[in-house]
Amino acid sequence: MDSALIPKGLKRCPFPQFALWIGAWSFIMLWAAIAAVIAWAYGLNTTNLNDYFGFGAWITADLAIIALGAGAFFTGFMRYVLGIDEFKNILNYAVIIGFICYSSALAILALDIGQPLRGWFIFWHANVHSMLTEVAFCISCYFTVLAIEYIPIILENRQLDKVPTLHAFSHNLHHIMAVFAATGAFLSFFHQGSLGGVAGVLFGRPFAFRVHASIWPTTFFLFIFSAIACGPCFTILVTRLTEAITRKKLVARNVILKLATVSGWLLVGYLSVKMLDTLYWAAVTLPKMGVNFFDMYPQAPFNLWILIAELGICGAIPAAILITKKTRENEFLLILAAILNCTGICINRYVMTVQALALPVMPFDKFYNYVPNWIEWITSLAPFAFMAILLSLSYRYLPIFPQEKELNP
């Protein structure tokens, strides 16, 4: 039915099966769209957000998605700037994953603001001292980069490639892709960092506040570090998942393992710096504010276990697995480590958002908890459906895995 669009020489499932699969995910998208329309039409009182939790599920989801999407820029950075050539075999996929993550993040941001029609004020009336401004500019710019990176992949479609102009355009774009990738990496470093800065500059919130190294709080660097440490793992996870669903080998094992190794060592690096930062925060920053370290972990779900989960279970353990050759090469452990690594970063983004706001700062203030409602849940989870749909479409109609033919003879 759509065989004319499917890349030459590749096997894809029958169209009805594909349609059903896309339909199922579209249902979730539709559900999320309804939620979004409700939130826009009736205002944010339709969520469980409140004055104590101005940031909640959406910002957590945003931060997490963008950290997970870091695979795109970092793989591009390694491929084009550091010249590690194997990564070209996974780069296309990483770029599409990144594109999905960033577009989802933008969509969620559009939901999260009280006056979406005035959202562009952040650009036109920008306050350059605000971390959020930096985030907005960098995300939009980097999203443009991702779109530019995505274009040649789309143009490789069998039918589009036949159009001479598009073919030439794609070719030329490929030619200078390194420039875009480098710019993208530059932008991305900044906005991963500024997302960290968003929490770190809050000097009214002892949980989030960190001392500044030059003009940025340490979270600026920690967020970059943690994003590049987990982004590749997310790329691995999605790739492996795609392979499991398509029942095909799509990327050579050595590429995956190399990515895992990089991720592992970055995670080790990140954890060491994060430990140092946490120690300094506990020993110097907090006492200056008159706050005990243990006051920061008063009760469930924000007790010490969340710290142990973030840095130990979802930090040290995956790091150990990933840097050890033997464990890394065990498929089960590799996937486990990747999952833990991604979870750890999500926990980090969660605590830096929600726990930072949940802890009362005024001694006579009360502790409140916050649970998102269905509108927040569905719209926060919709990126997964979006990802399923866009990845499926890309996989079906675009030759995104250079090694697919050779691995599936």
Partner: protein, 270 residues
């Protein structure tokens, strides 16, 4: 045309680009006098067109620019004691005007006015990202989760001096800035540039039946606040965070003063 303008503003002492520090408005609230009656809250809400809903018992979505917090000393009966903390916006100065909320606002919807020391909030500029609320440790900023609705004819009692807010934006105490504007208008009409202490008072100050709130220019030795803030019993909320607030509190009870900030277990408070 422009020459005429220039002549008109000669002799203005606002300083270059309006960054001259002319006034520094602030408050001293005597917690020994405050009875926790809540009149300041109602005075504020009527003065500033703050709306109300049928159910306002969820204090996490209830807009009260001035909110009276209740602190207890934590001791069992009969040694229990309570104290009320009326909490307007603290109009933090931070370091050189870098209030926690001002520096984070991405769209410059809130700024620190160096001429008055007042932290503004411009509702029509705000697009509701709520970053400032995350930044404020005093919970002085409120989000309009709903469209404001005034039942029956109660719209009739809205003040034209304060613009009602639409849904989806953040609002907070402005130190009744419109009263400053009004006082200055009157002064201008009378050919004066300066306004007196009495001419500009916030609605809560004016209403407080106990006279617990004193408002004025912290820099001006002739204003009452100037002396009051120097009392050994004066303190500010969460001073250690470096927010540098312009609202001072006063209490002769040491536990109350300690309740105004965080201290390590064995640390001595001021």
């Amino acid at each position: 045309m422009k020459e005429e303008h220039k002549e008109g503003v000669q002799g203005h002492e606002g300083g270059a680009h309006g960054h001259g520090e002319k006034y520094k408005f602030g408050m001293v609230i005597d917690l020994d006098k405050c009875t926790g009656c809540g009149s300041c809250m109602v005075a504020c809400m009527t003065e500033n067109n703050v709306p109300y809903k049928k159910n306002e018992t969820n204090k996490l979505d209830s807009i009260t620019w001035m909110r009276v917090f209740k602190a207890t000393n934590g001791k069992p009966y009969p040694d229990t004691d309570i104290c009320y903390f009326p909490r307007p916006c603290m109009h933090c100065e931070g370091e050189h005007g870098h209030a926690p909320c001002v520096s984070v606002c991405p769209a410059t919807a809130t700024d620190y006015n160096y001429e008055t020391g007042i932290v503004s909030q411009i509702y029509t500029r705000c697009f509701g990202c709520r970053y400032c609320m995350a930044a404020c440790p005093y919970h002085a900023r409120y989000f309009n989760w709903w469209d404001p609705v005034w039942p029956d004819d109660t719209k009739e009692s809205l003040s034209p001096d304060v613009s009602p807010r639409m849904r989806g934006v953040v609002e907070k105490c402005s130190f009744c800035f419109h009263r400053f504007q009004g006082a200055r208008d009157k002064a201008y009409a009378e050919g004066r540039r300066e306004i007196t202490e009495n001419e500009y008072q916030t609605a809560c100050t004016q209403a407080c039946p106990a006279g617990a709130i004193v408002f004025g220019d912290l820099n001006n030795p002739e204003h009452k606040v100037h002396e009051l803030k120097q009392s050994p019993h004066a303190f500010r909320l969460l001073e250690r965070l470096g927010t540098n607030p312009k609202v001072y509190y006063h209490s002769t009870r040491s536990w109350v003063r300690r309740a105004g900030d965080n201290y390590l277990t064995n640390e001595r408070s001021k």
